[in-house]
């Protein structure tokens, strides 16, 4: 190869990264840096004053309602993640172990397809299901279980149910891809040696798919930390999450305060990603 083609090869090797890298720096890292700065600046008279202060954080800590919202957000995130995983594990187990090979992929795709469709509309569809004249109430009345429509929406649990609905496909997919690599003979061997099925699953299968479980937990929990739409549409503002606090502040043009809450969420995210980086990286990536 001549010098020209070596330069071309070099450009070919790294040049492709340049446009994406510039784009990410300009519109991802710089804005994130701004959020950090803004969170230590000060809203005054609908402008942000470049005066370094801890006032936004002090305000957050001293307002009982915001701390309460933070705990509520964490609590709902944990509940929704736990239920999602608990529902997805038996499903993935069934799909991988009991469904004939040729049917597995189509059935998996059937689960994933809704995940890629409109997040807003999948949420909206629950208004029809849980509303006063929705599916559940109508069914309950027809069955004679109740004679007046129950208020199923606008509660913490209704938001958790919808969060589970939104993230189930992701958890099912992640668990399925790790269970699918499991060698079922090991489970059979354990049971031949006298372990009960549940014990065999708990002692043999679960430890081997731990990276998949952790990946599912982290990637369901993280986006929930920033949700603002389900509490608004399904919860009807009675059960706000941290995302709603950000939204409210930005509507009032209080960008410094909004930034402080955003940084708080980002801090949770970063801590989780760093703590679990070993389980999340490399192996699960690209389906190995």
């Amino acid at each position: 190869m001549g010098g020209g083609s070596r330069a071309a090869a070099h450009l070919g090797r790294f040049g492709g990264l340049v446009p994406a890298a510039v784009y990410f720096v300009l519109f991802f890292f710089v804005p994130f840096g701004l959020i950090v700065c803004f969170s230590f600046w000060h809203d005054f008279d609908y402008r942000v004053v470049h005066h370094w202060t801890l006032e936004n954080y002090r305000y957050f800590i001293h307002q009982h309602v915001y701390l309460h919202t933070m705990w509520a957000t964490l609590w709902m995130g944990i509940a929704a993640t736990g239920i999602t995983l608990a529902l997805a594990f038996p499903f993935a187990y069934w799909l991988s172990r009991y469904v004939p090979g040729g049917l597995q992929k189509p059935l998996l795709v059937l689960v994933i397809v809704p995940f890629w469709t409109s997040y807003l509309l999948r949420m909206y569809s629950w208004l029809n299901t849980l509303g006063r004249k929705g599916l559940v109430n109508t069914a309950l009345e027809k069955a004679g279980i109740t004679d007046h429509p129950l208020t199923l929406l606008y509660s913490r649990w209704s938001v958790v149910v919808v969060l589970v609905y939104l993230y189930f496909p992701f958890a099912a997919l992640t668990l399925y891809s790790s269970i699918d690599r499991f060698d079922w003979d090991q489970l059979r061997a354990a049971m031949d040696l006298g372990a009960s099925p549940l014990r065999a699953i708990g002692r043999i299968l679960v430890p081997q798919i731990r990276p998949g479980i952790i990946t599912a937990v982290i990637f369901v929990f993280i986006p929930i930390l920033g949700e603002y739409l389900p509490p608004q549409i399904i919860g009807g503002t009675s059960v706000p999450m941290l995302g709603n606090v950000i939204d409210n502040f930005q509507r009032e043009a209080l960008y410094a305060r909004a930034s402080a809450i955003a940084l708080l969420i980002a801090a949770f995210v970063i801590v989780l990603l760093v703590l679990f980086r070993k389980s999340l990286s490399a192996k699960e990536a690209y389906g190995a």
């Binding site: 990410f24 994130f32 038996p90 397809v113 890629w116 469709t117 997040y119 509309l121 004249k133 699960e284």
Partner: protein, 294 residues
């Protein structure tokens, strides 16, 4: 690959039956709300809910005749088209050095590039809002929405194309070289045709994600309406049959688009291989499921 082909004990058979019932329940859970939505969109009842008083296509006629919806659709398609082009170009170009460049910290780069899909969308939305309105003093418009959405869609294209490049036999390129092809021709005649299915899947993903994007767009689109933003302003006031019809159309469109993203690339490869037996385990899913591939 029926793994339990042998004789099942009664207990194992019961477990299988129980789990199969459970699997069916999961599909009902996933699809009932969507089916119900479509059902209500044909319901004569003007409150858009039970009871079903009769069947009508009136709500669809209203949707098609609504100028506001037509405008929102036009903006949505424009945004989605630009987002698709931006993310395919950025994502495909970046995939090559990521897979082949012998970077010093490949894992670090990969994680960095996928951060926008790992973190909550609200963080992208609010930080771009601060950048555009408080720092650069840009007016918010469909263009700022394109910038935000591309940040979110590019990693998907990148992951799809990178996954395809990883399984790529580089000897094909060397052979082309030996036969006298220069860099450009190698790219055009050997590499691009082989990674085209992944690029196509990436483009379809990017388009669909943009078509449906709400979380980021909400913060940075200003007073412009995309379809999801329009639907949001409508459903704040509760269910209407017209929104049921519009929502059904949007949902079915994205289901169709995303199904294409799953089905087309494997079909492409099947066609290229002259429909030889390629029903391998990795035909359908790995290309189209970037979600696990962080």
């Amino acid at each position: 690959m029926a793994r339990e082909a042998g004789v099942l004990s009664p207990r194992a058979r019961a477990a299988r039956g129980l789990l199969t019932g459970y699997g069916l329940f999961i599909y009902v859970f996933l699809f009932a709300p969507i089916v119900l939505l479509v059902l209500f969109s044909f319901n004569d009842n003007q409150y858009g809910s039970f009871p079903i008083t009769g069947w009508t296509t009136a709500w669809y006629r209203e949707v098609f005749g609504d100028y506001e919806i037509q405008d929102a659709l036009r903006v949505t398609l424009k945004v989605a088209a630009v987002v698709t082009v931006v993310s395919v170009v950025l994502g495909t170009a970046a995939a090559f050095p990521l897979v082949r460049g012998r970077l010093r910290f490949p894992a670090g780069f990969r994680v960095t590039m996928t951060l926008p899909i790992m973190i909550p969308g609200i963080l992208i939305g609010i930080s771009l809002l601060v950048l555009f309105t408080q720092t650069l003093h840009f007016g918010l418009s469909w263009k700022t929405a394109v910038i935000g959405q591309s940040l979110y869609t590019t990693p998907f294209v990148l992951l799809l194309v990178a996954a395809r490049l990883q399984g790529f036999d580089r000897n094909l390129e060397r052979a082309a070289s030996d036969l006298g092809a220069n860099t450009f021709n190698r790219l055009r005649l050997v590499v691009l045709p082989l990674i085209f299915p992944a690029i196509l899947a990436g483009a379809l993903f990017a388009f669909t994600l943009s078509f449906d994007e709400f979380v980021i767009t909400y913060f940075i689109v200003g007073s412009t309406n995309t379809l999801p933003i329009y639907i949001y302003t409508q459903i704040k006031y509760g269910i209407t049959p017209e929104v049921n019809a519009l929502a059904s159309l949007v949902l079915l469109t994205s289901i169709l688009l995303i199904s294409l993203a799953f089905v087309l690339p494997p079909l492409f490869r099947l066609a290229r291989r002259g429909f030889r037996s390629v029903r391998g385990r990795h035909e359908l899913v790995p290309e189209a499921v970037p979600a696990t591939e962080y």
